[in-house]
Symmetry: C2
Subunit: 312 residues, 2 copies
């Protein structure tokens, strides 16, 4: 009989959702030594790993599982992450910020404070070109929303071309995401918006560097909802300070929380949010766990298995 340990900050809510799913034979327990299944935040699972002597399967409630794929950690269990549930939140965040900028909302608020009837024209999403760095389930959702708004979509991926909503694919010829600079810059050239949804891996390190930023048009908006490691932060600050980039909206950073001394806080046209773009809701994650639990009981391969070597 499978024994599940829940390691999340809203454990009560998860327990309620899981119990109401009435999964056959499942017992929710609190002793890590007895648990063969774990559902939780990657960091909480990491801290508990030494005690989880019977662990067979761990389901992460987040997409990013960096703490658990570190080479120093054990890999003698199946790790699955959360996919397919964050695309909607990412779409709301990304298109919310693009519209915030195109509709000149800050200008309109300043005009209101000055009691000024200011009729300058808004920009539009329609007709613009969006570039996606990484096209997994989140990128696919963003591409769908971009098409709804009449945009042209480019996708930069290692090899996959699974999403029909992407109009043009770009791949590195070497099979490494940073392996072919010219393809990457071809992808960047002419983009109105660049959105990175890349996971943290060795290959994504500093992908958005000075030369990449230089390849973007000066009016381009860069949004990062992937991981902070993919950005050369100093080069980004410089590009914004010198007006070589329209704006940047960052939800993720090389170091989180960002230290109070970091130049980001006061860089012009840089909008920070605080790793809040995706929301992990217990009912969404429970659905995913329930689906995987049924496969697990049937001895079938689970969904969203993490490749420890690849890192996602």
């Amino acid at each position: 009989m499978p024994k599940l340990l829940i390691l999340t900050s809203d454990k009560t809510e998860y327990q309620r959702f899981i119990e109401s799913a009435q999964l056959p034979d499942l017992e929710v327990i609190s002793d890590p030594a007895q648990a063969d299944l774990v559902l939780g935040e990657p960091k909480s699972i990491l801290y508990m790993l030494p005690l989880l002597s019977h662990l067979k399967w761990a389901q992460s409630i987040y997409a990013g599982v960096e703490p658990l794929v570190d080479p120093s950690q054990r890999r003698d269990y199946i790790l699955t992450n959360a996919r397919g549930v964050f695309g909607e939140w990412m779409s709301e965040y990304v298109f919310g910020y693009l519209l915030f900028l195109e509709k000149k909302m800050l200008d309109r608020m300043r005009a209101q404070q000055a009691r000024e009837w200011k009729r300058d024209e808004s920009g539009t999403l329609r007709g613009k070109t969006l570039g996606l760095l990484g096209v997994g389930s989140i990128g696919a959702h963003l591409a769908g929303t971009a098409k709804h708004f009449g945009m042209h979509v480019r996708g930069y991926t290692l090899a996959s071309e699974a999403t029909d909503e992407v109009d043009e694919y770009f791949h590195p010829t070497t099979g490494k995401s940073n392996g072919d600079i010219s393809t990457l810059h071809q992808f960047a050239s002419g983009l109105d918006y660049l959105v990175s949804v890349l996971p943290r891996t060795k290959e994504t390190n500093q992908l958005v560097d000075e030369a990449f930023l230089e390849a973007l048009p000066n009016h381009a908006v860069f949004i990062n909802v992937g991981r902070g490691n993919s950005v050369d932060e100093a080069a980004l600050v410089e590009a914004l300070n010198e007006g070589r980039l329209g704006a940047a909206v960052l939800d993720v950073f090389a170091q989180e929380p960002v230290s109070p001394e970091h130049p980001f806080w006061s860089t012009p046209n840089l909008y920070m949010t605080y790793h809040t773009s995706a929301i992990s809701y217990p009912d969404d994650i429970t659905k995913l766990f329930v689906e995987n639990y049924r496969l697990y009981r049937q001895g079938k391969p689970l969904k969203y298995i993490v490749d420890f070597e690849r890192g996602y």
Copy 2:
């Protein structure tokens, strides 16, 4: 041979688009006395009406044609307005502002100024209920975008139920838009967002009044991209001041431009834009004119004919 007078501020651009369409027999002229066709802004057409002795058909470049449907004006010509081209801009505006509010963008900016890593959760569009006052071509586009974001959509219309994306329709039983208060308040009850796209007519006057605002939940957001006459502005200010409404985003007003003394400028949670939500692009409007011109030459009924009595 039809003779067209262009009455718009960007006349050169319109002329270029129309000439490149190579319409059979059409001549663009500048003498109003000779013109049988006019393409232009409603106010410019109004000023020219006394000189347009041969006018047969006028195509407005806007959706709202209030100056021309005034009972004191002549009605001996066919008036068509612009429809089907503004839905996209209205969607960008409306969902941009809803996301601006749900994603707490102002709070995030204030946190950034204070160098504070502030991780409070965002709200979502998904699962929310949007109410549309008026479901014409603009309302239909808004409904489609709402469904893309996983929302529930209510529509309040006189009688039509033409848009599939609307989940629930509400109609006044008397056949007048303000004729049945209880249906209107049933429509308002439980809405997260209310969006008015109503045209200015006698029937829409003060539809959103104190009682209507009272019927909305306290957290509701009201967006007006229709016409200002539909709102009791004093009641709206009071509701916002007293926290009985979440926020209001207004692009249209009873009097435009809004006078510097108006309480709107400094009402809390009220966001003003300046009749900038819809953008009338010459290439969009020219397509519409070209389509209608072909029908006109074939002696067929034109599209988007305005009913002078109804006012839209």
